[in-house]
Each structure stands twice: as C-alpha cells, then as structure tokens.
Symmetry: C2
Subunit: 255 residues, 2 copies
C-alpha cells in the first residue's frame, strides 16, 4: 500500500517523524512536505512563482522524502502528479502541533493537505495533537496507526476525510464528532515600530460559540476524548438553495 | 449602511474599482484589500510576521481605502477589528478576474474574504467575472448592485454567503445553483533552469466531473447564465458521521 504523508509544520517537524515511524510497517511511505513551517496557509496554492523541491533523508524513517518550497496543497498535488510511482491508497497529514477544531479547519494547512487528497480521489486523514506545549506525539501516533488500520479494513465513505484531534493527556476514549462553532476574538496586537509606524500581529483567543455542543470536536477535546470528525467538501448550502429559489426564482436578471 | 469591500486581485484591480463605483450610492463604502495580487491564497492568514497597511486614494471612488500586505482573510479581519468605525452590514468581495466555480472556491482568495465575513457574522457576497480575457466589468457590476439591493431587502439565511459568477457576454438570465464538481488535470509544467535544476509551474486545465449537472454553477456559466450559489461553512459530513458512529462506535480506543 502506497501512503503519502504531508504536513504544514515542515518536513523536519517532530510530529511528521512520529507519524512516519508509527505507519512505516503498514505500507510503503512517501513524504512530500513543505521545506519550512507553513501553518495557517489555508488551502493556498502557488501559482505566481515556480516550485522547487529537494530529496531529504529523515533519520530513522524508512521512506522517500521530498521538501517543497510551497504549501501543503502544493505538496500533495506535486506528489500525485510527478513524484509517486503510483497513486497513493491513502493520504495522511500531520501530526500537527496544535489543535484543528471547528472553524480552524478552514485555516489549517494540515487539513488542506488532506482536502487535496480527497479532491484527487484518495481516502485522506488529518491528525493533530491539541497541545502547543507538548512534544510527546506517542499517543497521537498510536491513534494514527489505529485509524489507518480501521480505514484499510473498512474504507471510508467516498469524498470523506477524517479530521482527528488527540488530547495530550491519556485520552478517555474516542468520539465521532461534528465541527464545533469556534471564532477568534481579540485577534490583533497593534504596535508601533521604532520609526513610529503601526504594525499588527495576528494572535487571538478561541471563543467557542456552543458551550454545550456535546457532540462537537471542541467539546470532545475539552473532555479529554480523541475526536474524529468526518469532513466533506461540498460547501453548497442546500437548505438556503431551496429558500433562494423560492424567494428569487422569479426575479428578472435581464441585465 | 456600512459596506466592506475586499478582493484578492489587489487594491488597484479594475474589478474592485468597478464594484465600488456600482455600490457607492447604496451605502458608505470601506475598502480593505491586499496591496498586490493574492489570488489562490485560499483561506490563508498571516501569523508568522506582522501586517502593515497604508491608506490609499482610488480615483473616482468615494470610499476610505486601505492596502494591506496580507491575504484577503487578513484584510477582512483587520477591517472588522480595527479599521471600520462600526461593524459592516455587508461584506462584498470582488469583482474577481476569472471564475470561482465548483471546487475553485476552496482555493479562491475572493471567496475567502466573504467566508471571513460570514465567520464574523456579516452577510457576505463574492462576485467573479468568469473571463480572464475581458476587462469589461459593467455587467458584473450591475449584477452586484442588483444582488446587494435584494440582500438589503430580503436578508440572507444566517451563515450563508452568496458566490456569484457572471459570464462575460450578455447573460440569458440568472440561476440559483449548487457547486459543481471540478478538478484540475495536467497541473504541472516541469522545466529545467539554465543551471540544470528542475522547477515546476502550476497551471492545469479544469475537468468538470458532472457534464450533465444542470443545476451546477459550472453548467450555468457554460449556458451563459449568471450563477448564484449559496455557501455555508460547516464542512462536517453529517451522513458519514452516522455511518461512522455505527461502524466505529464500539471500537475501543484505550490507547
């Protein structure tokens, strides 16, 4: 089985190494990842300059590996189109340092790599350790191996990727969740440079808008459960579509 | 009414000017846009370096305007948190040069600005001219004014943004559509530089996977209709969620 790994923390991130080590018995691994940290890149791609790559050897990891000077989505596209000997049976992105919960997934480079996997028709997973402080990826790596084994056995519904978040402490179990509704507040720190000019640092604190959303990913992590959220890519608002067809259907647009 | 405009083609793009000119009678306009082209940035945000901005005067446009050295999502965040005198009643992104159809919306900086509007709780629109060759934004600007007038009158379902695509020729009418299933093929041009090193240009041709999807945005544009697609941000795959709860619900994750 050909498994493609990527991430957004960069090719030398410890989370990627832990992921590769935990999956290398399960299949033939290929790693194509950004040459540096590219978190919060969303689903960006690089179209205004050429992309370069180089082969990389990761100590203790039995996999061919390339570092690309682009985004996670670029990496998956390049892997599929030019680098892998045949199409991957699975794409796994991670292990991300920090959570990817609720609305976070829209900004996440890690999830974006898995989204690119799904767009290209391959079952895909994104996995994140929900702590910025802990560098112990042991539990998250075990979860990755367990989920990959389950996906190899049962498959996934077509067009679905799994977004997995693992708490840093020993988890109480696993929940299949929906995305919570999370927004960031106090986003900018406004400062003045030594020349008197203003600049802004983006930061922000998460504000979870559904405190009692028992079935959300946010709540699962708060309660120390592993969260597994199935995600799909059709952003169409099918409910609003019906409403608008009724409201707007007869409005002339003879412009 | 306070209306925030942004885009991903940059503050000096002709599509943004055309949009502002067509909307300036309808409300008090504020423009916060990238200082250069930032297309295909997806929903990226800038967290690893500070953001700078400067005020800009756009000839013929009655609006306060700022150019930001960041992404479209950065621009909307900054506008809402620090630049606007009060929260906007509406966020409008565009007019984009080129289509944003089907899977394109995941990569689109223009749509990303409208997504950021929705995340912050404001009704939002993204509007694109589906031609790369035509610089005549007259029709698209008229469509923008018409849709804004309708949204001011009827509102939008909460959490819904409208993704509008306008064909370059005189449209036959308007359709409320769903996102089509579009993928890109032959994505990379692989070249060798004068020093013998390989580099890649991303390009690609769209491959529409549903030729007969009569109700899709892709098909509406092919048939020369204006396409209006309601979009929401919950990527949870609710169908797969039920399946996985049944299949995986009893699997122990005592890791």
């Amino acid at each position: 089985m050909v498994v493609l790994l990527s991430n957004d923390d960069g090719i030398h991130a410890p989370g990627l190494k832990a992921l590769a080590e935990s999956l290398q018995e399960l299949g033939e691994l290929f790693i194509v990842a950004p040459d540096r940290e590219r978190s919060a890149t969303g689903h960006g791609i690089t179209v205004h300059r050429p992309l370069r790559l180089e082969t990389v050897t990761l100590p203790g990891v039995n996999a061919r590996a390339w570092a690309v000077d682009g985004t996670p989505a670029d990496c998956v596209k390049l892997a599929v189109e030019d680098l892998l000997p045949r199409p991957p049976e699975l794409v796994v992105a991670g292990i991300n340092q920090g959570p990817n919960l609720g609305t976070d997934v829209l900004y996440s480079g890690t999830v974006s790599a898995a989204i690119e996997g799904i767009i290209n028709g391959f079952p895909s997973l994104a996995i994140s350790l929900t702590s910025y402080g802990s560098y112990d990826f042991t539990t998250a790596a075990e979860v990755a191996r367990k989920v990959v084994t389950l996906v190899m056995k049962n498959g996934l519904p077509p067009g679905t990727l799994l977004n997995i978040n693992v708490p840093p402490a020993k988890p109480r179990g696993m929940r299949i969740t929906r995305l919570g509704n999370r927004r960031y507040i106090n986003i900018f720190h406004k400062r003045t440079d030594p020349r008197g000019r203003i600049y802004y640092w983006m930061a922000g604190e998460p504000l979870d808008l559904e405190e009692n959303g028992e079935d959300t990913d946010v709540q699962a992590i708060k309660q120390n459960f592993i969260s597994i959220t199935p995600i799909q890519l059709d952003l169409t608002d099918h409910h609003a579509l019906q409403i608008l067809r009724q409201q707007w259907g007869e409005i002339p647009f003879n412009i």
